[in-house]
Symmetry: C2
């Protein structure tokens, strides 16, 4: 039996959670992580932008803070859901948290006494019926993120490094493809507004850019696409995103109109659950199609891969780990994709947040969305990040790196004040 390590400092629950610490291996073996408390709050990220399906004037998200104690030290983990599906605090507070606090947490530790996010996930998802992967998946995404942040901080490593070591044979990417999820509609924007926005992204180092379509007539969208192409130069630098606005006939008509541009991808042409229509579209539209941000689970993705007719050599899958039951579930999504014979490089997670970036780096997906201008402060990466020719390096800070994005970190403090 190892002797119990007694820390020689008092338990500093008001301490700076960034004061990371170091323990010897023997010390770590004697520790047992405990949860001090878990809080969740709604935050507003409303704005006047819109896509072809909704406007974002009333958008909210859930923020989660897990305060854990390990070796006498406070470890604070942060989580949030991506934009688009609203805050889900009731599900977290009334369903997930009681299950965590009513369970025996000694059974959800790893071999070093650290809370294992995958076992925590199993705990909070007890007594949830199958099917219905919607708001619940969003709530789970925020909570799961906070537990992974705690986990990586306990090991004093960036999350991407943990993922690389534990789930990817120590492989990782030092350069991650990113593209800004921009080109939204807003009042009075016009062609020049779109071009100015795109030039700004280029100045920031982005190469592949994305714009919304489907909000106007095809003719108007073609004029907007031409304006965008005048900035990005060629089709392989431009994505268009219809946000599931089209029915099959409209999606086909739009496909015919843009096919000759050979764009980087044509995103969410159809209702996300209408797999057969995707298959019909893929018969007619030769360039890349991208979809998946509104599927929310491996069950939905399984149907897309079985029935959606997508092509493993060119199409893109965009499930968002922060909307789809979290990183824990995303590990299963990667397995599923590979079971279907696809490369994980065909995955580019939606959401433009630091979780997606850590996943892209440590699990080597095809890249990550980025939100340099929208859904602030939850979108975007660390303050000092640099985009070079459309690629970014992952952060060096432990956990998700949320402390290094000062507007986000301040906002989280403010939300829980």
């Amino acid at each position: 039996m190892q002797e119990k390590f007694v820390p020689n400092f008092s338990c500093q629950f008001n301490a700076d959670p960034l004061a990371f610490f170091s323990f010897s291996n023997q010390e770590i073996l004697s520790f047992t992580m405990k949860i001090r408390n878990i809080q969740t709050q709604k935050a507003r990220i409303d704005s006047n932008i819109r896509n072809a399906y909704i406007n974002f004037s009333e958008m909210t998200i859930s923020v989660v803070v897990v305060n854990a104690e390990y070796g006498g030290k406070l470890i604070r983990g942060y989580g949030f859901c991506s934009n688009g599906r609203y805050a889900q605090c009731q599900i977290i507070k009334e369903r997930f948290l009681p299950r965590i606090f009513n369970s025996d947490l000694s059974k959800v530790l790893d071999e070093n006494g650290v809370l294992d996010p995958r076992k925590i996930w199993q705990t909070f998802m007890q007594n949830e019926k199958p099917g219905g992967h919607g708001d619940r998946a969003v709530a789970a995404g925020a909570l799961d993120m906070a537990f992974w942040d705690v986990y990586a901080k306990a090991y004093q490593k960036p999350l991407w490094k943990i993922l690389s070591e534990q789930f990817n044979d120590n492989q990782f990417d030092e350069q991650i493809f990113v593209y800004p999820g921009g080109g939204y509609y807003y009042p009075g924007k016009g062609y020049d507004g779109l071009k100015d926005e795109f030039k700004k992204y280029q100045d920031q180092g982005y190469k592949v850019l994305k714009m919304k379509v489907g909000g106007d007539s095809i003719d108007e969208d073609l004029r907007r696409i031409e304006a965008a192409l005048s900035v990005v130069g060629k089709g392989e630098n431009l994505c268009v995103d219809a946000n599931a606005r089209f029915d099959l006939n409209e999606a086909l008509a739009f496909a015919d109109a843009i096919q000759h541009y050979n764009l980087m991808w044509y995103e969410e042409p159809l209702d996300p659950d209408d797999f057969l229509s995707h298959a019909i579209l893929a018969e007619r539209y030769a360039p890349s199609i991208a979809t998946g941000e509104n599927l929310f689970s491996k069950h939905g993705l399984q149907n897309l891969l079985r029935h959606g007719g997508l092509r493993p050599d060119r199409d893109w899958i965009q499930l968002d780990p922060a909307l789809s039951y979290g990183l824990t579930h995303y590990l299963e999504i990667i397995k599923l994709v590979e079971n279907f014979g696809w490369s994980r490089r065909r995955l580019i997670p939606h959401g433009g947040h630091q979780l997606a970036l850590n996943i892209a780096a440590g699990l080597q997906t095809g890249g990550s969305e980025s939100y340099p201008g929208v859904f602030q402060p939850f979108g975007g990466f660390a303050d000092d990040y640099e985009i070079v020719d459309g690629f970014i390096r992952p952060q060096e800070q432990p956990g998700l790196g949320i402390e290094e994005k000062s507007d986000l970190f301040n906002k989280i403090q403010e939300v829980f004040d």
Copy 2:
């Protein structure tokens, strides 16, 4: 222009909402319904029963009350979601209700100045992204139900009669097939417990009975099925429900073991979203399959009908209108089923509530589930209902008839006290 009708009684917001009233046609033409307020609360329906997937020890549901004013009178509409997916009050309060109250309600009236539930639905579903049909569908189910209750009460007719007149060429059923959603597992129940439960249902007039399976080994389930058959007599009077517990191999093994009983149906053998596995099962299992209570939208059902291999001459579809965006959306589900060449008689809504019964009567589905013993007081029908040889008559009271189910009516008053 018609002269504005001025009611000669004061607006009685504390009046008995059951004091129904009559107006002349001309009076009605001058009325404009207004919403006084909408309230929603969580109610507990926890119990010690379980199915093969979850236990119900922490189950909650949302209850909604809409207080509307029409012709100087209060009309109070009640709604709730079915059991199984928990209360969704945050979605109702924070997303749906502000959209209703921020909209111009004069645009959502029908030609008699009555709030049209279908237009209200469009109002509260604004700015909701496509896909992700889960908790949101449950929240919408409860809210939509309350507006249909108001609507039918404004016309002083049972809801089934409104449905018959407006959506079913005046056709309706006077006798509706019902079966009790019983046979749950609970501690210490045993074979005799199951048989006693089934005899009680028979004494109440039910003929087709249902039991849970999948919680034990196949051998144990077969012994339980034999016990049940000793009461119901033959396979066509017995349904088994696996509550999505099985993977494909388990579902096939179970199918092989029960095929010779030729049961009324084999319910939820598989994950609700695993359509391909349903198709494989249907290749091997000749008797009826039933599923759909965990699909939640026409999008899910469309995939089941496209990819699930179900057979229009024998299989059953069980989407629950109170979990799946409400009656408003169920009207589209009926259309979808018929577009696929199926009869609406293949629909037997899950939920055992008065909404499903009104739908079954007025829209002539194949019947309705019934909860004589569980999920009280929200399950079940009016106090004086009578089951004869497995059939029930619809209620004569205006609206859903919730006031005629005294335990439910009392519970709702208590929840809002």
